[in-house]
């Protein structure tokens, strides 16, 4: 089975290149037979990559440690769940996984367009197969073959890094990869629009749902990663501005910009070149992120590039994609002219444009900070690094402006808005925002950025609420409906807009949670059984923890030491909390499993930093119970996860096909086919 998987990977290589060539040649010469062959090759490559993935999973499940990859990421005791997820636990497997996801999306895309949008498809197939072919080349020729054998059979594998043995870590990479790979489809359509010469808005309409899908996965992937860091890394933070994290944020920023500028092109026929460039940039950043997270370039430059060959192949690929796309855009410049001009600074398109510029500015700043050590080494010979203070300093002001725009955008009219109307629409939300900020200042909050964030968040939430209320009322009046049906129809008739507002609510909650970090409380203390430690929450109450004692136990895969504490809130007992230290002998590694007590407003977060005498605890020595704990109160941290859920709901509303499209009429007459279906398609 595993050998067959390796073989399938080898056949996939020529098939993908066949598909690429036949797609381009068939499209160029108008040969339907070649195009059919190319389209079939997409489904075949998908099937072959599934066989390859199953081969790897099979090797994990049957403990075939003669494979380098399995030996490094598994051992006999590993849970079946983690054996299956071994497919994407390491660099080699995750490249296969990346390829299989791209092949899946390509296959779905070809299937959905088997009768529609035919003039795009030959080139779309050619481009997608080209990208796939590239990844297969990397897998087979860049020393990252997951099927590489050691030449001997080790008695057991090295086991999976205990930090990766966490639910969030299992789900975080696949979701992120879904986001990265889904964006290849908009890129392929954009380039095929340029190649085929059909440069009107059609490609934008065809790809906006793919873009939203990709954005949805990227957002969730990033949030899952934060959740993992918060639970597993054991210091109470969720974002480090680590190169790997930054790499996943970059395409998210540019994809967010693209989602907004799509609307300008649709509605006003402007920003065509800009949109092409954004698609290209986002696609390159998804490749860059895959490359950065899985090649170790930034981490290892300081020593020696561990695997220079993969770096060279990736850079060559990104370089040639960039050059080819820019040449194509320049070649088509004459047909990419804007149909309209921006009429006023006070218009929704101007607000969107500003949003785009700011998002790109943020992306540039993050990229700059991430590769700054490389740049400075190039110029001065010494690496100079910038840390989290840099990223916070640049991105907090940028984030605040974006937050403000989130509120301004929905209210300001297309084309041009008049000051009088703006005053009328903004008066109440601005007052609410100011009142919230003033109230928080009154009760003792003193952090400037946090106060601005809370004020702006309330401003935006008020605007969105008023928008929903006014929209419902207007619909109820115009259509003569009851309030609830009017509300539901309002959303279902323009899912993208109202789904988008719901996404904004989620984003606002997440921003609020970030600002909450300004009020975190932490302290460390040494405890003997019976000792108490008190910590005051910024919300006014306090917690008292009483240390009950620590005990040890042996599990299949690790040894654990569990410290138990009882928790009182304002003197009332509210339960108990355990915080844990684990030792994995097979990896010679330890992890700290933090104890968390979550409420709507804050998390009580307890880390077992150290125990005086681990052997003494195992031996039940009563004098060896002394531990050091770090106790934190993390205000509003949960709002990131709640915000993520709301964002997901909003994105799903936007993604859901409009009812009219789902039951598209099959009648042939041209007049009939533009019944409600037409409106549905535009608002979808």
């Amino acid at each position: 089975m595993t050998a067959l998987g390796e073989f399938a990977l080898w056949i996939a290589l020529p098939v993908s290149f066949w598909g690429m060539t036949m797609g381009f040649v068939g499209g160029r010469q108008g040969r339907g037979d070649l195009v059919l062959s190319a389209e079939r090759s997409v489904h075949i490559v998908f099937a072959l990559l599934v066989v390859a993935s199953l081969g790897i999973i099979n090797a994990f499940l049957t403990d075939q440690f003669q494979y380098w990859y399995v030996a490094n990421y598994s051992n006999r005791q590993l849970d079946v769940f983690f054996k299956i997820s071994g497919l994407w636990a390491g660099q080699r497997g995750s490249l296969v996984f990346w390829a299989v996801l791209l092949a899946l999306f390509s296959s779905v895309c070809v299937f959905l367009n088997r009768r529609r949008n035919r003039e795009f498809m030959p080139y779309v197939v050619g481009i997608l197969q080209g990208i796939l072919g590239f990844f297969i080349v990397v897998l087979l020729f860049a020393d990252v073959n997951p099927f590489e054998q050691l030449g001997f059979v080790p008695p057991d594998g090295a086991g999976l890094n205990p930090q990766l043995q966490n639910y969030w870590m299992t789900i975080h990479p696949p979701v992120l990869y879904l986001g990265f790979t889904a964006f290849s489809i908009p890129f392929a359509f954009a380039m095929s629009a340029l190649l085929s010469g059909r440069t009107d808005s059609r490609w934008i309409v065809l790809t906006r749902r793919w873009t939203l899908l990709s954005w949805f996965f990227l957002s969730n992937g990033i949030i899952f990663g934060m959740r993992w860091a918060y639970e597993e890394l054991g210091w109470g933070g969720y974002w480090f501005w680590d190169p790997v994290e930054n790499a996943s944020l970059l395409p998210w920023l540019t994809a967010t910009a693209f989602l907004h500028s799509i609307m300008i092109q649709e509605n006003r026929g402007m920003l065509k070149i800009w949109n092409m460039s954004l698609v290209l940039l986002t696609f390159l950043l998804t490749i860059f992120a895959t490359f950065l997270t899985r090649s170790g370039l930034i981490e290892s430059v300081h020593t020696f590039a561990e695997n220079t060959r993969i770096a060279m192949i990736f850079l060559a690929f990104m370089g040639s994609i960039f050059v080819a796309s820019v040449v194509l855009i320049v070649y088509r410049l004459p047909v990419l002219k804007a149909e309209n001009q921006i009429q006023s600074f006070l218009s929704r398109e101007a607000a969107f444009l500003l949003n785009n510029l700011i998002l790109l500015g943020a992306a540039f700043a993050v990229l700059w900070g991430t590769i700054f050590p490389l740049i400075s080494e190039g110029f001065t010979g010494t690496q100079i690094a910038v840390g989290p203070p840099f990223f916070n300093r640049v991105n907090i002001p940028i984030g605040l402006v974006l937050l403000a725009l989130t509120g301004i955008g929905p209210v300001i009219a297309w084309r041009r808005a008049t000051r009088r109307n703006l005053k009328r629409n903004f008066a109440i939300p601005v007052l609410v925002g100011l009142a919230v900020a003033a109230f928080l200042f009154g009760v003792g909050a003193r952090d400037g950025y946090a106060l601005i964030t809370f004020g702006l968040s309330s401003f935006v939430l008020t605007i969105i609420l008023v928008e929903f209320w006014k929209g419902t009322r207007a619909r109820a009046r115009i259509e003569g409906e009851g309030v609830l049906p009017a509300f539901l129809h309002l959303i279902s008739r323009n899912r993208r807009r109202w789904g988008g507002y719901i996404v904004h609510v989620g984003v606002v909650l997440i921003f609020t949670a970030f600002a909450g970090r300004a009020f975190e409380v932490k302290l460390t203390d040494t405890l003997e059984p019976g000792d108490t430690v008190s910590v005051a929450s910024p919300f006014g109450h306090d917690y008292t923890l009483t240390y009950q004692g620590i005990s040890s136990a042996r599990e299949a895969n690790f040894d654990r030491w569990v410290a138990l504490m009882s928790v009182d809130r304002n003197g009332e007992p509210v339960g108990s909390l355990s915080t844990e230290f684990r030792w994995y002998p097979s990896r010679q590694m330890s992890t700290k499993e933090v104890g968390v007590r979550s409420t709507l407003l804050e998390d009580l977060y307890v880390i077992l930093a150290e125990a005086e005498d681990f052997e003494g605890i195992v031996a039940n020595d009563p004098g060896a119970q002394r531990i050091i704990v770090e106790v934190q109160v993390n205000p509003l941290v949960g709002w990131i996860w709640y915000g993520g859920v709301i964002l997901t709901i909003g994105a799903l509303i936007g993604l859901w096909p409009a009812a009219e499209v789902r039951k598209r009429p099959t009648s042939q007459s041209a007049g009939d086919s533009e019944k409600p279906a037409a409106v549905g398609a535009v608002s979808a």
């Binding site: 390491g90 008695p155 561990e306 100079i384 050091i628």
Partner: protein
């Protein structure tokens, strides 16, 4: 209205971002050195002892010990390529889970006159690559 005014806006936003990046970089940049480079810099210019730097190196096996104070850790760090270049380091705080012998660490702090590096932050190189050498695999025991 001409689109010209929007180019002005575009340039304006660009300038603001550039300003933020520029001041951000000059306020938070630190030298990022290998132990070898750090030792050389200090020999060249003793004033470098008081400059905050970032150093990436590897924890020397068997050198870890607890300091006298609560949560104080002592260990030695050597260069990734030139293992003979090494110096002691201290760090106060909760150690990351990945901290073990021979782990690659990034320390930020000052290299004191007494030759001890006092780190105020400690990061371990974590993430995507956790791999064992063939020798380690050969020696691994079946513990089931």
């Amino acid at each position: 209205m001409k689109n010209g005014r929007f180019y002005v806006g575009l340039v304006g936003v660009g300038l603001v971002v550039a300003y933020l990046v520029w001041t951000g970089v000059s306020d938070s940049m630190v030298y990022y050195l290998t132990p070898t480079e750090l030792v050389a810099k200090v020999a060249e210019d003793p004033a470098f002892h008081s400059v905050g730097v970032k150093v990436s190196g590897r924890v020397v096996s068997g050198t870890y010990s607890r300091g006298e104070r609560e949560l104080e850790h002592r260990f030695e760090v050597h260069d990734l390529e030139h293992a003979e270049v090494a110096f002691p380091a201290t760090y106060e705080g909760v150690l990351p889970d990945t901290f073990t012998d021979e782990i690659e660490v990034v320390l930020e702090g000052q290299f004191g006159e007494d030759g001890v590096f006092r780190a105020h932050t400690l990061l371990t190189k974590c993430g995507s690559r956790y791999e064992a050498s063939p020798e380690e695999l050969m020696g691994s025991e079946v513990s089931a």
